[in-house]
Assembly symmetry: C2
Homo-oligomer: 327 residues x 2
Amino acid sequence: MPRIPEDRLVSHLTELLAREGVSPPRAHRLAELYTQASADGVYSHGVHFVPGLLRSLRAGQIPDTQSDPRLIASFGALQRYDGNAGLGALNAEFCIDRAMALAEAHGIGCVALRNTRHWGRPGNYGWRAAEKGYLAICWTNTPPNMPAWGGSADAVGNNPLVLTAPGESGEHLVLDMALSQFSFGRLKTHRAEHQPLPVVGGIDASGNPTTDAAAILDGGHPWPIGFWKGSGLAILLDAFAAILSDGLDSASLKPGPGDPGVSQVYLAFAPAHLHGRPAAQRTGEILRQLAISSPQSRYPGQAALAHRRRSQIEGVYVRDDIWQELS
Amino acid sequence: MPRIPEDRLVSHLTELLAREGVSPPRAHRLAELYTQASADGVYSHGVHFVPGLLRSLRAGQIPDTQSDPRLIASFGALQRYDGNAGLGALNAEFCIDRAMALAEAHGIGCVALRNTRHWGRPGNYGWRAAEKGYLAICWTNTPPNMPAWGGSADAVGNNPLVLTAPGESGEHLVLDMALSQFSFGRLKTHRAEHQPLPVVGGIDASGNPTTDAAAILDGGHPWPIGFWKGSGLAILLDAFAAILSDGLDSASLKPGPGDPGVSQVYLAFAPAHLHGRPAAQRTGEILRQLAISSPQSRYPGQAALAHRRRSQIEGVYVRDDIWQELS
């Protein structure tokens, strides 16, 4: 179970990505984003994601690794971009930055991005906004990977969703969640470790509710959070992303490595322009109150911060087989 | 089980509200909103809500029934209002209208409202936006009524959330959901009818997960949708509402009839200004695809529309005891 110092991991991944034709500054930023996700404990969307990305690059599946998203339409605080089916994580960072710039000018900004690819860890863009003092909401659609509630075939995406509010001393609220009760990364981990899920996570191939991750992944289907409620939320987030970006909805996406073609939305809010009590102070109050009323509970973002602090001292965890593949 | 014609119900409720000092035009609009909620099948937040509202008015708990929300701060497409602890449903309609006006001018609009009261059926404001062709997202915080995940005392609100996308021929996508797996209205119905919940809805007084609505309401606690995920979402929606409105967060709200003091957010989007494919057409495509892939599932808003069509023909259902109280 190797733990690699962050800077060494970033240099190494930069080199591997540059070798596949990504320009050095873009390779470096990508390496930082995937390293940060692993440092924060989100391994499946961190360094463990990189071998697949390298294979896609090598196979020529991402022809344009160089361009920023292209502005398609703009009206006031609302903009629409095309991601050139390029590098999803860099496209995403570009778009949250644009949304924050719009929020500076208009109080709130909305960027819709179509024709992009898998953005890595969704939380990346929430942390970035929180660190700059913005509230933000971002989501992506995905190919259908869950039944709509009441159905038995994959019909809706698990459309990962991020909400963030800036806090004090780096203690930001960052909710980073897929709308399936368990992300596919977590299902695979439970399958690999033969551990039952803590609550029902979906149905097996016969349609029976189960806590067996293997049964869900191998012929079954994951369930949405809140059953019918998450199913409805997934449908609405998809409609928003498709409409605002004039891009593909979940059902129109063709499955493929890196989810080519997905549609995303980035909302940023700049409440400081309204001159009320500072956002970070309010978030701090909410966290202190939660710590009193719910001492056993963890706030969204708390686990990531704890992982990050450990990774800074002990290095970033990378699974043995992945590290061998990358070495 | 009386079914009352819509127009008769509206006139009758208008009279009752006006008798408690609400000006006739405002009483009429309130009567329409509560009648519409019942016509759409959301009885607990429709006509069944009115006796409590009348009692609050009679007791002088809503001193200002006349004022519109007061503008506190404004910057571009972002505005903050104070609701004067007034009539929640009228305050809410005012704010979704302001958000749509901002979206007309800026592509997107955000209105945050503090110091308001219970807004009735959340979906009211989603339907209104969809009928005018806007995408919208609205939510309210509530006093703490669920544990944060991992905790055992009420610490977070179930913060009802609405998302809407306009569709074709009145078939709008309207998601209207509280973040508890079951709304309190539904829990009370199951308790009254001695029907078990279809899935675990919370814990009983001893902390055991249960499908017994009575056990949840009487000494137990409801659970959030998606367990830890809905808990996190509730925390973030509360933080957004409190920060953007510079209003009270859930933990700072004092319980009371009509949830006095709650904070709300209204987001409206005007994608037509970006000149892509029309929103209604895209929504229609998504609904047709869902009907093919998931013939057993219902889209968000479908049940409300079916109830509405029945109510138009057969009259609006009102529970016997409520109708007697109102007669």
